[in-house]
Amino acid sequence: MITFKKGNLRVPKWNRRVFMVAGGTTAYKKFFPEYRIEELAMMAFKQMLEDNNLKMDPLEVKGLINYCAYGSFADHFQDQLLCEAKVHDYLGLDPLYNTGIKAGGATGGTTILNAAMAVASGYADVALAAGWERMDEVDTRTGNFYIATAACKDFETRMGRVYSSYYAPMANRFAWAFNVSETTRAKIAVKNRFYACSSPYAQQPGKHTVEEVLAGPMSAFPLRFLECCAMSVGSACVLLCDEKTAYQLTDHPCEIFICGGTHTLRVADRRPMDIPLLPNESEGMYQELLKEGSRWPGFESFLAARFAAWLTYRMAGIYDPLEELDLVELHDAFTISDLQTYGDIGLRPYGQEQDYIESGDAYYGGKLPSNLSGGLLGTMHAVGATGIFQAVECLWQLQQKYDQFHGDQKIWKKWGKRKPRDWQSLQIPQKSKQALWVSHAGVGSHVTVGILKKSW
């Protein structure tokens, strides 16, 4: 049983407000021999400085940066220790200090958290958060084994050597506990891969059907290949500033709030505990939730995601996420992890997660669309870049720049693609004010929940 003391539950508070003003990304590919990783980082960095309509010359903006946080997940993938130093030098940012961040799948979110803390504390007025991953130096099965070393090597890695086999038991348990059809999971894969069709950055866009997903080859029962995310190469970055600098650089900054939570690396070690309630949840509402022999979070939910949301909603003043948010970008590494997260972050009460999809709320044009970027299933999971890429997409959506960054024929061409004739804009409405993104590691070992709030 995990219990908290008062100090553990203090809600983080910045010493001064922090804003996101610009973002950049590369396209993502399974195999990307065209560029070295620092070259890809430079391409994202240039897009951030040059194409975000900042009110200052790109090199002048660069001249304001005085701290960098760099996320990359796995040194053994690209077999290069201290890659941060190579990228930092390549971007021409020496001798400014940089910190390398490693938090599994939550590396991107954690990198932004680190850069935000630098600005909030006063260490920096302008901080760069950049991330990347190069996952194409080894074959796919070896890549899967590498990722599975982010399970406990003594007790769980040998049980599958593939991460889908750690999420699949959760899918079976979740389906049993809350009576969820496989169709709901398949709809998530169909939705996110379809949205990826509008993205020039997407690695595996596709117009699939539910039947096709469910008839596809199995990775670990019940997760089919189309329910599992991409293994990618690519890079993304964002620029964070204090309030004064933010408005010097743009008329359209977004204030940022971000907190994290953690839980055990082994699912085995998730001890039962009481559910920490979100602001709009009430005592006793979960009394009937669990079947006999079940426990919370069990294998059904993520304490780390719930705790991160618990903090971030209080930090950002969110009461009802479904009503107050306008876009979410979730960590859909697997269809099941996406589905589980709906309850953790309060898009639905626990036990009713599937209704977020089945009601249509999660779709473009719905009440609270999710993963219009194409997510990890459709667009990318270059792990160290992922949580940053998601934030970039949230920023551009709030700034009404979806078409600028997804519909421009030149961007498609730059990445060797042709813009589809039936290209569809996924721009959220102008009145939209707040977007949330989740960066998620392991089987829920680290999770950050970030919120961008339109500040103009």
Partner: protein, 162 residues
């Protein structure tokens, strides 16, 4: 005058378009310790499932741990060992059939990976089912690879209780 010689293997070029891509061979063996959990792995080879518990009477956590820990995460007291009495009977809490496994997999695919609730444990350890098809709540019995052990956590597994 002694000249420096190239004593390596010539690096293979995998492709030259759109850019030059080379092969970079890596083979390695890590020397890894089981540390204070060594008795657990030794126990498996002897047909015993060993758990740890916190002996601190004031500690809120009084249940058993598998995977074991040498220190209690709640009060930091050094844990003590307890051998579970055979036959160890548990219930399947969650499961999957591993169809596509990563490089180095040591079990023949497909196989059933199961997470088992064992009476008295605060944890739900992950293992595998030797035969049969699991369902949530299925009763299973622990067995051990005492003959030709692998010296890993794969030295125990579960079979259905008939």
């Amino acid at each position: 005058m002694q000249k420096t010689k190239f004593i390596g293997q010539v690096t293979k070029i995998k492709q030259t378009e759109p850019q030059t891509v080379i092969e970079w061979p890596r083979t390695l063996t890590h020397i890894h310790t089981y540390g204070l959990l060594s008795p657990f792995f030794q126990g498996l080879k002897e047909g015993r499932l060993r758990a740890t518990f916190c002996p601190n009477k004031k500690c809120p956590e009084n249940l058993l741990w598998i995977p074991p820990r040498a220190h209690c995460p709640d009060c930091h007291t050094e844990m003590k060992w307890k051998t579970l009495r055979n036959p160890v009977i548990g219930k399947v809490y969650a499961f999957t059939e591993v169809v596509y496994a990563g490089t180095g997999i040591e079990l023949s695919t497909p196989y059933w990976q199961i997470d088992v609730q064992i009476p008295g444990l605060t944890t739900v350890p992950k293992s595998y089912l030797l035969y049969g098809k699991p369902y949530i709540g299925m009763k299973v019995k622990a067995q051990f690879r005492t003959d030709k052990p692998t010296n890993t956590v794969l030295d125990y597994y579960w079979v259905p209780v008939e």
